[in-house]
């Protein structure tokens, strides 16, 4: 009986992720517009955009290679798998032994590498520009993310996400200074990876500043839809990862049905708060010059390493 329940909860989690990701992006855009005294677009605007794009005709450049045509599906697959791995609705997931925290970061890196390769595939100036900047940001952000995960795994003596959640929820409530450092570092990495304001503006198409947008410049129609959907899935995955590591309470472990039902609203609430937080940070900060980004991310990296050092020093 519990095997069916596990597969059901796993499937449910992935479906919820697929549906909720555009909602989350819509919610963040709404918050940002309100904070900037603008009338906000509806919550389901991203959904409509995806639907519109799926029905449009896909235009592919002549110089594109078969890799370009495969790449949207690979990235979409990576992001859905990432959302599947992160325990949002229950900790007993069949997929959890398949990949632990390091494999998750590797999975995100796989998605990113394919995105960069596809961007370079057409051979335009902006594609390669975007790819270089993306990889440049990535090689500083990924180590910081891994260090954050390591700080947490040193506390919970495990790198598998479900084990981390299980261990953190059953610990007495205590302040972990190393987790505090890790938290700040994680938010900085989240902003960098999801092309939010201080590192890259998600809405802009200004050649000089765009990183993520430059890479999906050449996509159109269903490919663009998949890319947008993957981007929002990525944001969703990062937020869920933040929740599992820093606010894991409320994620049920053994699968009794009403526990699952209760988890949904808790998750929605947490995501909403997360969305507000992101909107706040975005409106409060201005975009950094591209060569100021290394200092920003180096700061994140150092915070994460200090977090780990603090763990070794204070033992917590």
């Amino acid at each position: 009986m519990s095997a069916y329940y596990e597969f059901f909860s796993q499937a449910l989690e992935m479906v919820v992720a697929l549906a909720a990701a555009p909602l989350l992006t819509g919610w963040v855009n709404q918050c940002r517009s309100w904070l900037q005294n603008k009338t906000a677009p509806s919550l389901f605007q991203p959904h409509r955009m995806l639907h519109k794009l799926f029905t449009k005709e896909a235009v592919i450049a002549e110089t594109a290679s078969p890799l370009f045509r495969l790449e949207p599906y690979i990235i979409f697959g990576c992001m859905t798998l990432a959302c599947g791995i992160i325990p949002t609705l229950s900790t007993s997931l069949p997929l959890s032994p398949a990949a632990d925290a390091i494999a998750l970061v590797g999975l995100l890196a796989l998605g990113r590498v394919f995105l960069a390769l596809a961007a370079m595939d057409i051979g335009t100036a902006f594609g390669t520009l975007g790819a270089r900047r993306e990889m440049f940001v990535a090689f500083l952000a990924e180590p910081a993310l891994l260090m954050v995960l390591f700080s947490v795994s040193l506390i919970t003596r495990s790198t598998s996400l479900t084990a981390i959640v299980y261990d953190l929820t059953h610990r007495p409530l205590a302040i972990y200074p190393s987790l505090a450092f890790a938290g700040i570092a994680f938010t900085m990495v989240l902003l960098a990876e999801n092309a939010r304001i201080p590192v890259d503006n998600p809405a802009t198409h200004l050649e000089l500043t765009m990183i993520h947008e430059a890479m999906i410049l050449e996509h159109s129609g269903r490919n663009l839809a998949l890319m947008e959907w993957s981007a929002s899935l990525k944001l969703y995955a990062y937020l869920c990862l933040g929740i599992t590591i820093f606010f894991p309470w409320g994620i049920p472990d053994t699968g009794h049905p009403f526990g699952l039902i209760l988890a949904l609203p808790i998750l929605a609430a947490k995501l909403a708060v997360g969305g507000i937080l992101i909107a706040l940070i975005e409106t409060a900060s201005a975009k950094l010059r591209i060569f100021r980004v290394p200092e920003f991310l180096a700061m994140a990296f150092l915070l994460a390493v200090v977090g780990m050092l603090v763990h070794f020093l204070l033992g917590a």
Binding site: V59, V113, I122, A125, T128, A138, E142, R222, V305
Partner: protein
Amino acid sequence: MADLRLMDCIFGVAVGWLAIGICGLLLIRHTRFVARVLFPLSALVGCVLGFAGIVSTFGQIQTSLLPIGLPNLPFHVRIDNLSSYFLFVQGIVTTGVSLFSAGYFSREEDTPAGLICLEYHLCIASIVLLLIADDAYAFLFAWEIMSLTATALVVAHHKDPEVRYAGYLYFLIAHIGAFCLLFCFGLLGINTDDYAFASIRLQRPDLMVGSFIFFLALFGFGAKAGFLPLHIWLPEAHPAAPSPISALMSAFILKTGIYGILRVSLDLLPIQVWWWGGIALAIGLATALFGVVLSAVQTDMKRLLAYSSIENIGLILAGIGLSILFKAYGMYALAALSLTAALFHVASHAAFKSLLFVGTGSVLHSTGERNLGRLGGLMRFMPWTAWAALIGSLAASGLPPLGGFVSEWLLLQSFLLTPGLPNSFLNMLIPIATATIVLVGALAAYVMVKFFGVIYLGQPREQKLNDAHDAGVWERIGFSWLVIACVGLGLFPVHVVQALDRVTHLLLGDGIGNAVAASGWLQLVPDTSERASYMPVVFLVVLLACCIVAYLLVRHVYHVKTRRSGPWACGFPIMNARMQDTAEGFGQPIRHVFGPFFRMERTLPSAFDKKPVYKIKIEDPLWAWFYRPIAAITEFVSSIVGLIQQRRIAVYLLYTFLTLMFLLLVINQ
């Protein structure tokens, strides 16, 4: 099969390769025959070696004596788990490289293919002898022949001076390393009469002599493996060699240095001191970071891969350093884990690096270009090579489903599962070491995106790239063999780890084999499944499932209309290949962030130049800090010694007279 001792099988392989080499020499003029028959034959022998390696990893230790060598110093020969694992990796690599060479050498080079065949087979045969050597004389004998034949292979195109210079540099540093090894083995076997490893193992050197031996071994094997101060020949020699040879060198000849360090530090030396491990770890990390940063700014594709080999060797040495550290503190389980990670990386690096080098070989053969600035868009003309290089690049950047990720994963696990070392200073080192390894991994991804993107994707930067032809049949077989190896290592790590468990039991007395075996072949669990687990097959299956489901849903729910037209590029009308990012451009952020890592000479065009020129030359800083001063000192000393030649007879007579007087005074005391 049981009675056919594995030792005879290994001898058969070595003798087989020698025979192939010699008949290659005899048929030096028939290039097609050499390429089409001899190399595939040697690939077959390589398979046999791989199989024998795996079987003997699980089998018993076998020893025997070879009649050759000096009368009181015959060659002692022994197959134990460590050497059989390395034989297995050599088998895989040589099979792939030989298959590829069958296609590569079928065209006439300036050095006849028969001669290359001889030197190639002499080299791999001497490596086999090296791996099974069980006494200092045989070890050094095989070691020097390997260096000699590898140099001969590097200078195959000895027409142009850089190749000659690269060969000379390689041979010189290898030989100086060999002298250190001679000194190290001399000290090890100081009071044994036949320098056999069996009697060396009984010796109990004191701490000071032991440390001297360890650092001599580190220096000597480092000269072959390419650790930081001694890596200078690697980016010169590997690009100079023909591609299959640089594949063999990068994939396996570097690993003989690693094998040597393992043999001396963990097998022959009875005691391990913690700061040995600490220094090896520090050198390993420095080498890794230095290698990857320099490979990010290269503009020659083979130099880029050579520097990335330095990085991977650094990672392996870091793993070994860590295991020595743990063994010194008596934590045998953790030592076994980090040693398993290092040895796994030996195999995965051998697979993907040879695949990448072999890929560049095909590119070089069809376009004649090595400079990244003149390549691009080869995906359209060389699909087979491109897809193989894609898999190689993904493995090289350590991405999950493939082999590169598993070794990085195991290494990070060994760092994370430390319960904290008694020495507080080392506890500080662990996070910094983890940070460096993680940074190196990310940078490797950056390098591989640059490598694959600039060569295979985008638009061809030169006109002649349009008529580039894809790899030949044999070359494709070579690709697929190495791709299978990469993917196999990635998807079935449990079997490899169980083989490695035998090696760690031999060297450290403990292993993670039982933890891994407990959780079945599907799941890789170093300690307990709660602590960490990784199921590559499930990971890949679910990933593919998601992609396919997405593909089918999109295709069915929405109609399939696609139109081909010019690239959008934000509406810019004119579009040519020069607008793409060049290799220097792609490396520019790294140059910006890691400035002090290199010596850079840039000639910037001024506004008034009629013909503005922009030239940048990135140079390895160690030339200026370490190698040129040494050359200057030798020059200075030899000029002093030159003063003896005064060209006047009277002065020479004076020398004789003074020596006589001096000696007479000496004996009067």
